[in-house]
Structure formats: structure tokens, C-alpha cells
Symmetry: C2
Subunit: 610 residues, 2 copies
């Protein structure tokens, strides 16, 4: 026990050293969790091979309260993986020890810092252990009390209970104080426990600074079956430094030189020679499933009159891919019979996870699954993916390999009205720095693009359409990220019309009407919205008098803007047709007409420009 | 009682009629809530002046399960405000009776359809009644059981309990079935009640089809003090039509002709002459607060060495406005000491609402407050506003007048790292169709723009900077939506540099360095990012060789793209500097330099182009 309190003391020392060297950082939020992490890491509970951080059977630790990074790094210093000198690079530009844990540090499981997201990521890792890789590793998530206000935490709680994740242990560091004052529940640990039990969790309430109680808690947590476990720890923010303890206005503040010296004196002798031992995980081989034989054909949706909605083609495509690639998993937020993720669910129920109507947790869970080597396809209505923008934003910092599918986009969904229409989804996914945005118009291009997405590593988005659309491509047609297709072209083309998805079919109708009057236009299928096929666009700008983009999406951040930006340094005019009025309920054709993104609007504009 | 069951029967009839006429819509989800709404509306509980829907003391009803719109409209038909013919226009393009309630229908309090948002809006209305307008009106929110999976609902629950909203009554229609199958909790009403109690609510569990039980529930709800009340009603999806009752695969499906006839037969005689009476609200005058005398000056933050961070200037500005305009309220998500909303909180504690770390509910609450005539200023870090994109998206359909303030934007926040950096926030707010996006660079422009925001009706966004920046404008300088400022210009300008916020100060530094070498550049402060000052941009494009935009934001959907799109049809080249690499922790100056958005990068590019 003395060894453990020595480690706690050393951890506090390292937290002081790193934050003072940085001149910023969250010292007091780190100090409150010292004993909780001392025991987890150095009393045999955590099983982790430090030499092989990616080992599939390592236990996982997520600091959902990412601002406690000084403690996070201190743990690996005690474990011998960082020196005091390393710790002094905390928050410096070339240091892997960032203000919030990032993937530059090899022991970070997921980038955190936007509060309330860590438990969802843990759910993904725990789902993987229990249902996919069938491994005994445990997932531990350290939560702050302030972040319990985030609804996403409760989305994760209910789902973890629903899936009986007894391999998931959450630890709430109830230090009472948030950034600007007391939390809603203050030090009322029993209230946290009450809520957690109501959400189906086993709870253990302890004094988070009493090593014996902390040890008992982790022991008990190991024995609990069929439900996830929440350790609710009453702690003191700033614990260990008298003038910081339970004091307001110290969040994210560090000590001045005198205070720093005073703190060191209070800590007393620190044994920097201690080398904390972390237990080794069991060396279990990962079972590689043998080839599966399944006749998917009877589950697939067949075209009717050579028409098939791209959302249905997505369901077909991901299911076919699922045979060869067993890393593919599918998550859907209670819309699988609309997104057609349900085809995959029927064929591979063990690799489909119903996430219910909780998009934020769905994306966080996907981050956890991706971290464990799975390839999550995440689907709901395009409009409802906006619910998880912060989680998608953070997923990029976790370097997560996730495929997003948004169905029911644009006014062409018709009668359900604007609340269900994805009209900002292209703008949202384009804004993610390294994202790929794809928007197929028929079932062939959809199937090809879904396959390309599966093989691309990173965040990509596929936009699918509700209504059935004609199949325009031959099944051998090839597609690529950053590509486009010319549907019609001739030497006599006057105008180029650039469209994707449902508006491509309007453009094709327009082409046919214009042909009757001997007017030739070029039609480009811009199925890759990000990146753009600049070559084809520039060629069209050279060879035709004007370009017209047509999209079932609002103006800002959409296809028109992206084409305009790409072509700014040439003189051919670019005209943009987009959803300009607030849509309402109506028939798809009526709405496309009212927004002037249908064939008639294209014909009208071409006649004006030709 | 017979009168009430006649009304229930008539409501069911109207639901059948409207959905069958539309050929789509959510019949079964409407039928389950018929008795719950019959009693609320027509047994004296709801107090609402149908002739004056905006009357300040009307009780409020929000259909959070917006897909139950057939029932919603049927209620107003029974009340005599819609005819059966009106109902048959359901979901038609020119009908106010949209697929999900929209503001085109005069009795809609808030646009719903993205699930899990209605309770937050109700919280806003209830906060207004209890703490601001001090009125006795009650707010009723009808929730679906599926949407209880949304974390936002639990954010609203905890906050409603925290603020002791005993004027808020939620009714969960537990009909067991979601869109694609059974919900997580199925028919386990006691589980819903357990969770609600854990979140501090009084609960009443009933059979939602037993009129006597429903009456008792509303009666009891009226008597409960100091806590909000949740009526948990066990119901049957499709209730009243035997072949629909508790059946899967009927969500959002309607009846064919035979089924429709069969259903009518089952309903039996319906008395369409019934005119349901809704009770009148008390005619209470709205107290208009007399002029307040308060010396804000001692609370305001003074510039140091002619420098002041725009986030601090925001805090000053909204507080000063708060004196004259008592409709202004401020909401913040546990960051008020970073956004400086805490200045307002100190001066006007009764008009400041701490929303804790729950951005989704914060925005929903603001929608409710805006509906009641308040002008909510909603602040947190720009990065964390992405957490509420779906709520912001829906706010536009509620025609909500909300001012968003995002602080800590861009890499210039420094050491906290990317999780805390607003780098997609401009793209997000621009994507909202009618939004205004403002980005001031000094305290004077901030104060002027905050005032302009307060007077503009709609969704606007102000982007503020963490670090102190020099005051560059005279206090009498005027600003406007769609405006810009030319900081430097001359007849010898070679290049125009367009910047805003922190990069404007880098541009000014660049100007001074270039002047030393007799190179003149024009500097434009693009403080209004949406709409753009096209005239000034086009003039610069005419008068200088090239334009350079510089922004502390990612590329896609940012300032550079918006300027490029605006200038596409002219030939002057536009170059864009933006955050191009994934940032990490570091000193602000280091990060601005690494991303090549600092003075040195501007000088380098100008020298290349000049």
C-alpha cells in the first residue's frame, strides 16, 4: 500500500511538473483522479502490453475527461515510458503530449477533449470484445462529473446496458467543480449512482482517494456479470495541494513559481525511481473466421423496370461486401428499414448493431469499433447525421476509419417535409478536413462507390436518395474517388450541366428535351463531390460557354460553391441551381419544380444562356 | 365521458381521413395518443385562446413526436379550426398541414420532426413562465417512446428538474414500437418511470387509453409542486383499428382502400358535428418591467494597452444591451468564464441561464425562449456548437430568433489543441439557409455587431477570438450586416488581402512589413462573412492584381471558398490561405505560422504574386 501511495505522490509530482513547464493545463482536474488511476494501472487490474499498444487483447483505457491529460501522461511516466524531461514538453508544438490526448501519443486510444464522448467510444470497444472478436479484454472509461450533463453519456449508458456490456467499467471522478463553478449535482454521489442504476448499470460508490476502497471497487467490478459497472468516486478537485483542494477558479489554471514551490514542499519527498508495473494481458490469438458461405441473393432488392433507389443499392452493396470482408460492421439509428441497412442485418445479424435513435452515441461507438480494426458503416437519414457533427469532427482526430451513409436527402423525399430533408449534409461532411464525399445517382455507381469507400481509410460520406432512379451505368463501369462521368458530350455542346444524385436524372431529361430543338449540352455526373474531378470541370469550362450546377441541397457549402471555388481562376461563367426557398411537404416532382432544380428549370436556364 | 369517447372516435376518424387522402403519414403513431390528447384538449386542462394563438398566457403544447401530426391537426378540427376538407390537404404542397408540424400552421409552437428536441423547447417555454414573464401558463410536451433514446431528452430532463419546472408536463406515449421494430424498453413503463424519477421528475404511470386514468393523471400533474411531471402512458400503436393494433411494419404506412373501409366500419358511427371546447386562459396582463438602473461599468472588462479579446468585448456588449432591452437573455454551456457571458450573469442573474455542458438542450431551450418573445444569446466554444447542429438546423424551421456566439475559434487558441478549436464552425453556420455569420476583429466592431445581431430577426452567429487583439476602430465607426471595412488602400495597391478576426491583425502586420519595401497592399476586414460585401470584393478584384483570403478555419465552407464562389465570374485570381494541416497544441504564433496564415505567410505570397 505504501508503494501505491508513493506512486500517487509521484503522479501528483509529475502533474505539477508538466503543467508548470507548459504554463497551462488542467492540474486540479488531474489531481482528483490520481488514486483512481493509480490502482487501475499499478495494482494489477489493467492488463496492457506497453511494448505492443495495439495488441488486440490489451485492456482499453479512455480518458473521456481529456483535460486530465497531465495525469494520463504521468501514468506512462511512472510506467517508464516517458521521462520527466518528456513531461516538460507537455503542450509544446512538437510534443506528442498535447493539451488533450491525441493519436500522436502511442497510448491514446481515442482523441478526447469534447466532453461526453469517451463512454460511447468505450461502448464500441466493449461491443467488439463481447460480440465480434470475443476477447476477454476490459474497457475502462474515466469520466468527469461535469460531462455527465451531456446527453450522449446517457445514450451510451442505456445502450451499454441493453447490450449487457459487463466488460465495460466507467469511473466517474466526482470532484464537484466544473469549469465555472459547481456542477448540477455537486458532491451528491448517490444521485449519480441512482441515475446510473436507473439506466441499468451496477454501481459502486466510493471515496476516490481511499486506496483500499478503490481496490475493492475494481475487484467488485471484475465480478459483476451481465451489466456494465459504474464506479462513482467522491473526490476533491486539486486533491493533495491544500490551497487547491475543493477551490473554485482553479480549473485550467496553473501555479505561479511560489505556489509551485509551496506545492512541492507539501508533497514532500517523492521517489522518482519508482517504476510502476502494469500487468500483462493474456496472450490469446485472434480467431480469424473462416470463409462464410451465404446466399445473399434472396435478400437483395432487385430493380423494378430498370429502376432502383440508391439507398436500396447501398443495402445490397454493403451486404455483398460483408461476405468477403468480415471486418465490416453496420450501425443504424432505428432507420434500417429506410436506409436499407436492414439487408445487412438480415444476413449478418452478428455484425449489425441497432443503435436506436441516438446518433451521437452511434458515431462514438463507431470510433471505438474502428479503433479495434472494424470498418463501421454508419447510417441514418442525412438530416439526422447533423446530430452527430461534434462526434464526426472528433472522429477525424481519432483517425477513425468510418463510412457514413445519409439517406433521404434533399427535397426529393417529398411529403415528410424539411425536418427530414438532408439539405446541409454535403456542407457538413465537406467541412471535415480530410473527408471524402460521394453522391451516386444510380445503383451501379452506388455499389461501386460503396466498395471504394470500404477500401479507403478515413472518414467518407455517401449520400443516398429515397426515390427509385433509373439505372444509367453498365455494370462494368468504373468509378473512383475524385472522378466524374460524362453522360453526354459532343463537339457542339453549348453549355455543361453538372449534377449528381437525383438532379442528374433531371439533367438527363433536360438534355433529351433540348436535343429535340437541336441544342446540345454536356452532362457531367459529379458523383465525387470531394475531391472534385478538376480536369473534367476545367475541360468543360474551356469547351462550353457556361457551366450550370444543379443540386438538391442548400446553397452554402454545397456542390455549386465547391465547383465555383474550384473554377475561380478561369473566366467561363458558372451558374448554380440549388434549394433556394425553405421547402415544405409536397410531391417530389412539385418540390423539385418549386426549387427550380428540375429538368424544366435546367432547360429554361440553358435556353437563356445558349 | 361519452362526449369524450365520441371525441376520441372523431379524432381517429380524422387521422384515417387525412392520412388516406395524403397517401402517406403516420397513422398508427397518431392513434396511440388519441385519449391522451382528447383529455388534455377537451376536458378543461389545456387553457388556450384559439382566437389568439400568440396570447402570452396560453398553455403551450409541443408534439415532440412530430410525426403524429395527423392527430395534431385532428385536434384543431375537433376544436372547429379546421374542416374535414382542410384535413384532406394534409401533406399537399400548398397546405399548412405539413408532414411534420411547421410554423405555417398557426397553432404550431415549434417545428418538430427531428426526434428528441421537443422537451428542450418546452423547457425554454417553462423557464420563461416561471422565471421571466412570471405567468401561470403550463407547457405540455407529447413525447414518443422511441425518442427517449435521444440523449437530448435527458439533458432536458435534468435541467427541468434543476430549475424546478413544475409548470412543465411531459407525456410519454409508450406504444412499444418504433419505426423498425420494438424500442429498447418495449412496454416496460415502469422502467421509463424509474429513469424519469432518477432524473428528478415526479411520474404518473397510466393506461393511456383509459379516459378516467388519463383525467386523474392530468389532475394530479396540476397539483405537483417544485418538480416537473412525467405522465408515462402505456398505449397501443394503431389503437382502435384491430388489424393495426400493436402490429409491426405499420409505422408511416397507410391503409389501402379496402383496409380504409374496414377501419371505418370498425370505428362505427362518428359524430362529425361534435365541437370540442378548449378552456380559456386567464386574461393576465404581461408585466412590463420598468427601466432598470444599474451601473454596469464596474463589471465590464477594460482594454489593456489598447487590446481586448473579442470574446471579452462580447461579454461587455451583451451586458450593455441588456439594460435597454430586457428581452435579451443569455444561455451558456458551463463556459461563461471563457465566453465572458459571465459579465451578463453578474449584472442580470435573473436573465442568465446556466445550461451546463449540454449544448443540444441549450439550443432547444433557446428556441422555446425565442418563441416566447425573448432574444436568446447562446454561447460556448465555437467547436462545441457543432454538438447542436441538428438543433440549429431545426431552429430555422421554427423561425427562431437566436444569436449564437462561438468563442475559442481556430488554431490561435493555442495549447488546448484541436478538440477545442472551432475550425468547421463558419462552414456549419453558413450552411443554414438564412443565417448571418459575423466575425469581428476588435472590441469596437464586436460591440457594434452584437447590437446589430440583437436587432436582426433570425439565426445569426458571432465568431469570437480567445486572445487579446488590438483595437483598430474608432468608437464611432459604423458596421452593417453585409458590410466590410477597408483598413488600408491606395492607388498603388498591387494585391488585396481579405481577412477577419485574428488573421486581420496578421494582414495588418504584413501590410506594415511590405510598406517598408514600398509594396502597397489593400487590406479588407471581411467582418460580415455571410452575407458578403460583394461590391468591395469586386472593386478590389478590378483594382488589384490578385486577392488573398486568410482565415483561421479549415478550407471547405470557409471564407476563402465563399469569396471564390462570389467572384467566380471575373478573372482576377483568388488565393486562399487557411488551416491546411491538422493542428495540434502549441503557442498561437507557432500554430499560425505552421498553418501559413500569419503575417510572414501573407508577405511571402504577396511577394510571389506582386
Amino acid at each position: 500500500m505504501d508503494y501505491l501511495s508513493q506512486i500517487s505522490k509521484l503522479l501528483r509530482y509529475y502533474c505539477l511538473v508538466s503543467t508548470s513547464a507548459a504554463g497551462s493545463g488542467h492540474l486540479t482536474s488531474s489531481l482528483s483522479a490520481v488514486e483512481l488511476m493509480t490502482i487501475l494501472y499499478f495494482n494489477g487490474f489493467l492488463k496492457f502490453d506497453l511494448e505492443n499498444p495495439d495488441f488486440h487483447n490489451n485492456d482499453r483505457v479512455i480518458f473521456s475527461k481529456g483535460h486530465a491529460s497531465p495525469l494520463f501522461y504521468a501514468l506512462y511516466a511512472v510506467a517508464g515510458k516517458l521521462t520527466e524531461t518528456d513531461l516538460k514538453t507537455f503542450r509544446q508544438i512538437d510534443s506528442p503530449l498535447e493539451g488533450h490526448p491525441s493519436m500522436d501519443f502511442p497510448y491514446t486510444e481515442a482523441a478526447t477533449g469534447s466532453l461526453g464522448q469517451g463512454l460511447s467510444i468505450g461502448v464500441g470497444m466493449a461491443l467488439n470484445a463481447k460480440y465480434l472478436d470475443k476477447l476477454p479484454y476490459k474497457t475502462y472509461v474515466l469520466l468527469g462529473d461535469s460531462e455527465m450533463a451531456e446527453g450522449q453519456v446517457w445514450e451510451a449508458m442505456q445502450l451499454a446496458a441493453y447490450y449487457k456490456l459487463d466488460n465495460l467499467v466507467a469511473i466517474i471522478d466526482v470532484n464537484r467543480l466544473g469549469q465555472r463553478g459547481e456542477t448540477m449535482l455537486g458532491h451528491d454521489v448517490s444521485d449519480y449512482a441512482y441515475k446510473a442504476r436507473a439506466f441499468g448499470w451496477e454501481t459502486i460508490v466510493i471515496n476516490g482517494h481511499n486506496l483500499t476502497e478503490v481496490i475493492k471497487a475494481y475487484k467488485k467490478a471484475e465480478q459483476i456479470k451481465n451489466t456494465p459497472v459504474m464506479i462513482v468516486a467522491k473526490t476533491i478537485k486539486g486533491k493533495g495541494i491544500s490551497f487547491l483542494e475543493d477551490q473554485d477558479n482553479w480549473h485550467g489554471r496553473i501555479l505561479d513559481q511560489d505556489q509551485f514551490q509551496k506545492a512541492l514542499v507539501e508533497l514532500g519527498d517523492v521517489d522518482v525511481s519508482i517504476n510502476g508495473k502494469i500487468a500483462q494481458p493474456k496472450d490469446i490469438k485472434l480467431k480469424v473466421n473462416k470463409k462464410i458461405k451465404v446466399d445473399v441473393d434472396k435478400f437483395l432488392i432487385k430493380p423494378i423496370k430498370k429502376q432502383l433507389a440508391t439507398r436500396k443499392a447501398y443495402g445490397n452493396a454493403v451486404t455483398k461486401l460483408g461476405i468477403k470482408n468480415q471486418q465490416i460492421v453496420v450501425l443504424d439509428a432505428e432507420t434500417s428499414n429506410s436506409t436499407f441497412a436492414n439487408i445487412f442485418a438480415q444476413v449478418f445479424p452478428e455484425r449489425f448493431f441497432e443503435m436506436f435513435i441516438a446518433e451521437q452515441n452511434m458515431v462514438g461507438t463507431a470510433v471505438g469499433l474502428a479503433r479495434m480494426g472494424k470498418i463501421p458503416f454508419v447510417s441514418t437519414f442525412g438530416s439526422f447525421l447533423t446530430r452527430a457533427f461534434d462526434q464526426i469532427r472528433m472522429a477525424q482526430y481519432s483517425k477513425a476509419n468510418i463510412k457514413f451513409i445519409g439517406s433521404h436527402v434533399g427535397v426529393s423525399i417529398g411529403q415528410d417535409g424539411p425536418s427530414q430533408m438532408g439539405l446541409e449534409d454535403i456542407a457538413m461532411f465537406r467541412s471535415i478536413r480530410e473527408s471524402i464525399v460521394l453522391y451516386p445517382s444510380d445503383s451501379v455507381s452506388t455499389e461501386k462507390l460503396v466498395k471504394i469507400m470500404a477500401n479507403h481509410n478515413g472518414i467518407s460520406y455517401l449520400r443516398t436518395t429515397r426515390m427509385d432512379t433509373p439505372i444509367i451505368y453498365d455494370k462494368d463501369e468504373e468509378f473512383k474517388i475524385g472522378g466524374s462521368k460524362i453522360i453526354y458530350e459532343s463537339s457542339k455542346d453549348t453549355i455543361t450541366v453538372i449534377a449528381a444524385g437525383v438532379t442528374l436524372h433531371e439533367a438527363i431529361k433536360a438534355y433529351k428535351q433540348l436535343r429535340k430543338n437541336k441544342i446540345n449540352i454536356r452532362i457531367v455526373d459529379l458523383y465525387s463531390i470531394k475531391p472534385l474531378d478538376l480536369k473534367t470541370l476545367e475541360k468543360a469550362a474551356k469547351e462550353t460557354k457556361a457551366l450550370i450546377t444543379v443540386e438538391d441541397h442548400y446553397q452554402f457549402g454545397g456542390i455549386g460553391e465547391s465547383v465555383k471555388s474550384a473554377l475561380v481562376n478561369q473566366s467561363t461563367p458558372v451558374y448554380t441551381l440549388f434549394v433556394d426557398q425553405q421547402p415544405n411537404s409536397g410531391q417530389p416532382a412539385e418540390l423539385l419544380a418549386r426549387e427550380k432544380i428540375d429538368a424544366a428549370a435546367i432547360v429554361e436556364l440553358v435556353n437563356k444562356l445558349k
